[in-house]
């Protein structure tokens, strides 16, 4: 009977509270230890596939990749010269007619930045890449590049990468994460539209009539 002398058993509800608190603390500690684990090299993940840090300094980095059965010249010619593509684009900037070094951001990109963005080509390497960056006083600073890589018999791998840094975080963006997700999805859609146009001559639609929504 020694074990029962002078003690009041702890109520079950308290056990549950302490148990839950201990579990949460252990889980939080585990996550912290895992994320600070020195063995994890966040730069080792290929391309944009790092598990935790898809950023470069203050910039959030996002992008998309497709393979197109065409040469880099053909792909670039379609991107820069096929006006049928431009109204369909959500995020991928397209060339401004009169000034060869200027790109126009599509409407989605303009909406996200709230003010018009000028985007200027800053580097070009034939058959390899086109890089651009935004100018002016929009709410975001954006850098992007379109890169072409030979993908053997499958065609040319086309990768677009965009790095975005909001100037005034709270005023312009819904949240950075939501923006990055929308941007990534939109860029993938844009590259797929580009592929459709190059490979098939048209952009797939299930509409039953030209005037249908």
């Amino acid at each position: 009977m020694l074990y029962n002398q002078g003690h009041t058993p702890m109520p079950i509800a308290n056990w549950a509270r302490y148990g839950l608190a201990a579990t949460l603390a252990t889980a939080a500690g585990g996550v912290l230890i895992y994320r600070r684990k020195p063995g994890i090299n966040h730069d080792a993940a290929p391309a944009r596939s790092a598990r935790h840090r898809r950023r470069f300094g203050d910039y959030r980095v996002t992008g998309a990749t497709v393979t197109i059965r065409a040469t880099p010249e053909q792909i670039r010619a379609c991107w820069q010269g096929n006006a049928q593509l431009w109204p369909e684009l959500e995020y991928l900037p397209f060339p401004e007619g009169n000034q060869p070094d200027l790109l126009l951001p599509p409407s989605e990109l303009r909406d996200m930045a709230s003010r018009p963005l000028l985007t200027r080509i800053v580097a070009e390497r034939e058959d390899e890449l086109v890089a651009w960056r935004s100018e002016g006083d929009g709410h975001a600073d954006m850098h992007g590049r379109l890169r072409f890589r030979d993908n053997g018999a499958k065609g040319t791998a086309v990768e677009v990468i965009m790095a975005v840094r909001p100037h005034h975080f709270a005023s312009a963006w819904k949240t950075e994460a939501m923006m990055a997700e929308a941007l990534e999805l939109g860029l993938l859609r844009d590259l797929r539209r580009l592929r459709m146009l190059i490979e098939t001559g048209e952009i797939a639609t299930a509409r039953m009539r030209p005037d249908a929504a």
Partner: protein, 389 residues
Amino acid sequence: MRAATFQGKGDIDVRQMPDPAIVNPRDCIIEVTSTAICGSDLHLYDGVIPGVEKDDILGHEFMGRVVAVGKESTLEVGQRVVVPFTIFCGQCFHCSEQRYSNCDNSCPVEDQEVAEKAFGHPMAGMFGYSHLTGGFAGGQAEYVRIPYSDVVPLVVPEDIPDERLLFLSDILPTGWMAALNAEIAPGDTIAVWGCGPVGLFTILSAFQQKAGRVIAIDGVKGRLDMAEQLGAEPVNFHETDILDALKQMTGGIGPDAVIDAVGMEAHGIAIDNMADRVKQAVGIGQDRAHVLRQAIMACRKGGRVSVPGVYGGKADLFPLGAMMQKGLQLRTGQTHVRRYTAELLDLIERDVIDPSFLISHRLPLDEAATGYRNFRDQQDEWIKVVMHP
């Protein structure tokens, strides 16, 4: 135009819908002369395939006459065509290798994301088969817009009736590909689960591809009778322990190849299937994979597993250990219809096969709701429904 539309689970209604028109330069418009209800339409009807919306026009087995062409179409007005259910561009990497149902370009980009999340990659477009496959209007209608009409439709001769050609749109090539995927060697014993239209064409195809024996498994007597007429040995799963029977019938070895022509809505009262039904009903599982499990267990060591039956989600208790330990090979996929149509049309033209034996009921389009209901609920008699708009 009139069209059979999805109004909700178990609810099909023929309604007035806008006529289609040319949208893209490679399009054509056809006037449908014959259309059929497919077993996989029942997955939509039963609400087990996601992404179907109210007023969607159903139907992916159809044929008709060209009534309008886009400026890049190679067809001419008046030509008679059978239209494969898979829409494909003909130019992408997958199409270049004749894997048409894997086409990268035929599904509109706005509809690619759900399938990409579910399956890892987006699917090709299909007619009348949910927004997972593009939300294209289907062929149970008076008119249909056909994208990529320079490569998708098969132009067919005028002197062969619709009913012998219609099934080139889906189930005949599907049965053919299922048999090809089983890699049948002359004299092989093949077990086919499901004696619906695809299962029966799989049996027909297996014999064409030199199978020695075909064992047909189903629970509906009328369908087993049809399988027997094709030369198969019928086994009724209501009366027979299938694994035991297959071992006995093959001298203890097991079938050389097994073919699951049932898919995600397996019937029967096996314990695993009942559990799958509950999970499907409450939305925590999507596929009732009893047949696939049984087929894998039945297949001989080193054998082949071919799956033409449609699966759309996840399956529990998948016997991966049996696959690995017995060294089985599994091949499956939506049918690359156009890859096989020329060969099959040749067999029809030479009277080697006549697919019209399958048709049990002919209805006007206005009776689509009756056709769907009876095709699902009276499987003994309603083997295949063909409708004429």
